[in-house]
């Protein structure tokens, strides 16, 4: 192959590589600048990623399983509309395929969807007494969806300490972990992780100094 062609391919490739990475960064920076702040209750635990290092995995109090009136296909694009909770934190209000423009929503995908059944006692009194029943569909569906934010990366020394800090705090004075998330046009980016109203990094650094 001609050397000039190789150079052209290399330059196009470099442009594509820079563009993809630039696009990933730009979308998240826009979200962090323009997004609405949402807060979700969470419990941090400390695992490890070979490429991206140590992080705290976020186990959200919010259920990933939702009960809906309509059936969704696995892998279907859906939107989780965010509502206000009772404790100053946010919660998922509903799932929809078309959110209203004024709503705050997170774009996600359906992991699985299955019919809900309830037991229906049928037959003679003897059968009912024996506890035999048959399941009938209720017309509703359990929908399991992917959270678009499930990990918070930290320095390798801080991440395990963060988990310990959370366990201590939740045991002592029932302080809760809160993930501060910016949401903009369906994209959600974690801004910070708080423990007892303070950034978890500060809490952990203080603990390490002690």
């Amino acid at each position: 192959m001609n050397r000039r062609w190789l150079l052209i391919i290399a330059l196009i490739g470099l442009a594509a590589q820079f563009s993809v990475m630039g696009f990933m960064i730009a979308r998240r920076e826009m979200t962090l600048h323009n997004g609405v702040v949402c807060r979700f209750l969470t419990a941090p635990v400390d695992p490890y990623d070979a490429f991206r290092g140590r992080y705290v995995a976020l186990n959200f109090a919010e259920n990933k399983r939702w009960l809906c009136d309509c059936e969704y296909v696995r892998g279907q694009r859906i939107y989780a509309v965010i509502g206000e909770g009772t404790n100053g934190c946010n919660m998922i209000a509903r799932l929809t395929t078309r959110p209203e423009p004024e709503e705050i929503y997170i774009r996600t995908r359906v992991l699985s969807c299955w019919r809900e059944y309830r037991p229906l006692l049928t037959g003679t009194n003897d059968v009912v007494r024996a506890g035999r029943s048959r399941d009938v569909p209720t017309g509703r569906y359990h929908v399991c969806f992917a959270w678009p934010f499930d990990r918070f990366y930290m320095e390798e020394k801080l991440a395990p300490e963060a988990e310990r800090a959370y366990i201590d705090a939740s045991r002592r004075d029932k302080q809760e972990g809160v993930a501060v998330v910016r949401v903009w046009r369906g994209l959600a980016v974690i801004e910070d992780l708080e423990l007892g109203g303070r950034p978890i990094r500060d809490v952990v650094r203080e603990r390490l100094k002690r």
């Binding site: 150079l7 391919i9 290399a10 594509a16 990475m21 490429f51 892998g75 990990r151 980016v189």
Partner: protein
């Protein structure tokens, strides 16, 4: 020719000149010709050590960044994410301007460039706390490798590309998705492998590339099949291996070594393994339309891929069989026309299809297993015969190995007593040892390689 062989040849030329076998002018011409060959030889030591260096630097950067320097802040980390890629860009442009086209420069650069992309994407993921999505991460990294493969024409990015695609398609299928995109994406790199194979002095590199591509595609074939119709994989796999074997025979029939003809080696080896599995009864149980798979992870529309392959691959094998058959000289044995052994191996998908029909519609798994046993034993005998006729010890050994495998496999799965099994094995062993001895003596007498 390797440099050690060239050095030996030049020493020989010196001796010929001294002994008057060749004149001075011829000796000088020979020395000049082979000195040029040494100069053009691929510097493997530099390539391997250079690539190892690039790999270690790349892995070191990944480990350093995984430590997560949160004090640096987002803007600095963003710049760091782009730095390895910028280094590759600068190196490539400088290399281009200075005319560095040696493999010792391009191979390590290709490896480091590939790692630089992964480093960049991983660091962005770390900075913005992206969710766990190994599938998307692998796909992005793999797709961004395409220009690196073409720009450097290096082995490492091509191997990384196929390994990445295979990883992605495995994860996609495990998550219940459809992996059919593997094939158009894999096809993007095929022109590159073909063009490298046409390059002079790129035999080793192109052979490695072909091996990587062929192995990954063989593995991906099983992963991407939707498997709605149980047992169809047998026709698909025998078709694919037969096509590879015959393709290798058509494309590089002159290549003698098993390593230098990956298509033929992989096709033959794969075919032997699959056919060996089919001599047992278990693959023929519960197959056919009566056992059509209908679970939540089954994509009906994707089954067209299975059916297309089940038709296209045997047809391709038949086409290649005709093509390869027209190229070989006709041979007779006492007036009986002889078929080359690979031609018998090449009809495997059709024999498998007959056995499949017997098991699927007749419900007779015993008959299908028996048919395949006789077919594989016949292949073993044919290969052994061809090896003897052409005096090729390697081919003889393959034939013996296939025959032995059939006997051992079938006999072990039978209900015969251990005494009977033991006696039969001893007899078989003695017969083979005797046959080997006779063949070796005959070859020595006739001057063949024993």
């Amino acid at each position: 020719m390797t440099s050690s062989k060239v050095k030996w040849l030049i020493r020989e030329v010196d001796a010929w000149e001294r002994e008057g076998v060749v004149d001075t002018a011829t000796a000088t011409r020979l020395r000049t010709r082979y000195a040029l060959a040494v100069a053009n030889e691929t510097p493997w030591g530099r390539i391997i050590f250079g690539s190892l260096g690039a790999l270690l630097v790349g892995l070191g950067i990944i480990a350093l960044l995984a430590a997560n320097w949160s004090d640096l802040g987002r803007p600095v980390r963003t710049i760091i994410a782009f730095m390895p890629l910028c280094t590759c860009a600068v190196l490539y442009v400088v290399g281009y301007r200075r005319g560095w086209s040696s493999r010792a420069f391009l191979e390590p650069l290709g490896l480091f460039w590939g790692l630089a992309i992964g480093v960049g994407v991983a660091l962005i993921g770390q900075t913005y706390h992206l969710p766990q999505d190994a599938k998307a991460f692998t796909l992005v990294w793999t797709l961004l490798l395409i220009p690196v493969c073409y720009a450097t024409r290096a082995l490492a990015p091509v191997a990384g590309y196929f390994a990445g695609l295979l990883t992605w398609v495995s994860m996609s299928q495990l998550a219940g998705g459809v992996g059919l995109w593997y094939w158009p994406l894999a096809a993007i790199i095929v022109p590159l492998i073909y063009s490298v194979r046409c390059e002079p002095n790129a035999e080793v590199r192109s052979t490695w590339m072909l091996w990587t591509a062929a192995l990954c595609c063989t593995a991906a074939l099983g992963i991407t099949l939707e498997k709605s119709l149980p047992g169809l994989w047998m026709i698909v796999y025998t078709g694919a291996f037969a096509a590879l074997l015959l393709g290798g025979e058509v494309r590089d029939s002159d290549e003698r070594g098993w390593w230098h003809n990956p298509l033929r080696t992989l096709g033959g080896g794969g075919l032997a393994v699959v056919l060996y599995l089919l001599i047992f009864r278990w693959p023929w149980k519960e197959i056919g339309w009566n056992y059509w798979r209908t679970d939540a992870f089954c994509h009906r529309w994707a089954t067209f891929f299975d059916f297309s392959l089940a038709i296209a691959l045997p047809v391709t094998a038949a086409f290649l069989l005709v093509l390869a058959f027209r190229r070989v000289p006709r041979r007779n044995w006492h007036g009986v026309p002889l078929l080359p052994a690979w031609a018998l191996w090449g009809v495997a998908p059709f024999v498998t299809a007959i056995a499949y029909a017997l098991a699927a519609y007749g419900g007779n798994d015993q008959l299908s297993a028996l048919l395949m046993t006789f077919y594989l034993a016949g292949l073993g005998l044919a290969t052994l015969g061809e090896g003897l006729a052409k005096r090729r010890p390697g081919t003889i050994n393959v034939g013996v190995l296939v025959l032995l495998a059939v006997i051992i496999g079938r006999f072990f799965s039978s209900d015969a007593s251990f005494t009977a099994k033991g006696v039969v094995f001893i007899i078989c062993g003695v017969v083979f040892l005797g046959a080997n001895l006779v063949v070796s003596r005959r070859m020595k007498q006739k001057g063949g390689a024993a």
